[in-house]
């Protein structure tokens, strides 16, 4: 079974379910897993952090921001039975699709913020496929804990 993870969604799945994000551009897919618990989760991050307004009271809705999504993903994993010290992460995305427009460098900033948050939470990143100029479709398999990545010019399993 494949479940789709929309922008700002955080979803948890158990072996052998799969979680997918289709057409990932500058957004980042954060996949977190606990092998011994046989479960994994994916968060679809759109922006590094909220600017100005307070969104914390709507934490669930604020999961499009890396600063909110990464801790929420971890908490959800733990609530569903994962052990904090077993958690590992794999990330993909953060591309710059319109090369001429990348003054915002939002893809890079997303990746940097996700990494910063994971570091703060002491969760190691075991694999990544980030940056570049290509859109990605990613499927996270909670059986093998592999992230299957497909772009228009390559496919990769990390």
């Amino acid at each position: 079974m494949i479940e789709y993870v929309g922008i700002g969604d955080v979803k948890i799945a158990h072996n052998p379910e799969k979680l997918a994000i289709i057409g990932l551009g500058s957004c980042v897919c954060v996949a977190m897993y606990d092998e011994s618990a046989g479960m994994g989760g994916v968060s679809h991050v759109m922006l590094p952090e909220p600017h100005g307004e307070s969104v914390i009271e709507h934490a669930e809705r604020a999961c499009k921001y890396a600063t909110v999504a990464v801790p929420v993903l971890m908490k959800k994993m733990i609530v569903k039975g994962a052990k904090k010290e077993h958690l590992k992460a794999k990330i993909a995305g953060g591309a710059s699709i319109f090369r001429e427009l990348d003054s915002l460098e939002i893809g890079d900033r997303n990746v940097a913020k996700v990494k910063e948050m994971l570091r703060k939470l002491d969760i190691s990143i075991v694999a990544e496929d980030t940056g570049g100029n290509l859109g990605r479709t990613v499927i996270f398999d909670t059986k093998s804990f592999k992230l299957h990545i497909k772009t228009k010019s390559y496919t990769k399993v990390i």
Binding site: Y4, G6, I7, G8, D9, I21, I22, G23, L24, G25, S26, C27, H44, M46, L47, P50, H51, E53, R61, K64, A95, I97, F98, R99, E100, L101, L104, I106, L134, G135, R136, T137, K152
Partner: protein
């Protein structure tokens, strides 16, 4: 707590009509450029939760997309999207290349040609709605990418959906004249997408309200 974005049936119709005026002008210029009759579908106006957007478009499909930012009295993102096949066809038509040559979409010539087509369509779209509403809308220079629809659309979303939970998506599909005997019906297939910023949507709606009062 922010207000939820909602449209009455009337407002939806008015926006649809406005988009229709823009889209018809845009496709007329495409028809003039290519010498092919272009049909426009009835436009759709939808308010979509940000997390569901990728389910409402064929996010995985690789398309040729031209993106322009609209500034002036309203602020929005406008996309002109072509299927890979029709992008190929348009390039061949405009550059006089041999049909069936397939590496051209991302080449310099191909992408410049498509950018220009997108620019012309977008300018006609803007001119039409500016004239109708008596406002000024200026499109930015076009940028181009050929990639998955989802990845292409994210560029507008990071900007307009940063603080909003819902976005308004206007979509108008267009295609070339039906031909009876062959499989050329999708020679030209594309669509125009418009994502206004939340505050511009309010401006648009109040301008449309004014417009209706003029006719009362």
């Amino acid at each position: 707590m922010r207000e939820e974005l909602k449209l009455s049936e009337f407002q939806k119709d008015a926006l649809q009509e406005l988009g229709n005026i823009g889209a018809c002008h845009a496709t007329t210029s495409l028809a003039e450029m290519t010498g092919i009759t272009i049909y426009t579908h009835v436009p759709k106006v939808e308010i979509i939760p940000v997390r569901d957007i990728m389910c409402r478009v064929d996010a995985y499909l690789i398309v040729a997309g031209v993106l322009l930012e609209l500034r002036g009295d309203i602020s929005a993102y406008l996309y002109v999207i072509f299927t890979e096949r029709s992008a190929q066809f348009i390039i061949e038509l405009l550059l006089g290349r041999t049909f069936g040559d397939t590496d051209d979409i991302e080449g310099d010539m191909g992408s410049s040609a498509l950018k220009e087509v997108g620019n012309i369509l977008a300018s006609s779209f803007c001119d039409a709605i500016s004239e109708f509403l008596g406002i000024s809308v200026i499109p930015s220079p076009p940028v181009f990418a050929c990639d998955m629809t989802g990845a292409i659309l994210q560029r507008a979303l990071i900007d307009i959906a940063g603080s909003a939970d819902h976005v308004l998506m206007f979509r108008c599909d267009f295609k070339c004249e039906e031909e009876k005997s062959n499989d050329n019906n999708d020679k030209i297939y594309g669509y125009i997408l418009l994502f206004p910023r939340e505050e511009s949507l309010k401006t648009l709606l109040s301008m449309l309200d004014e417009k209706v009062k003029e006719y009362d």
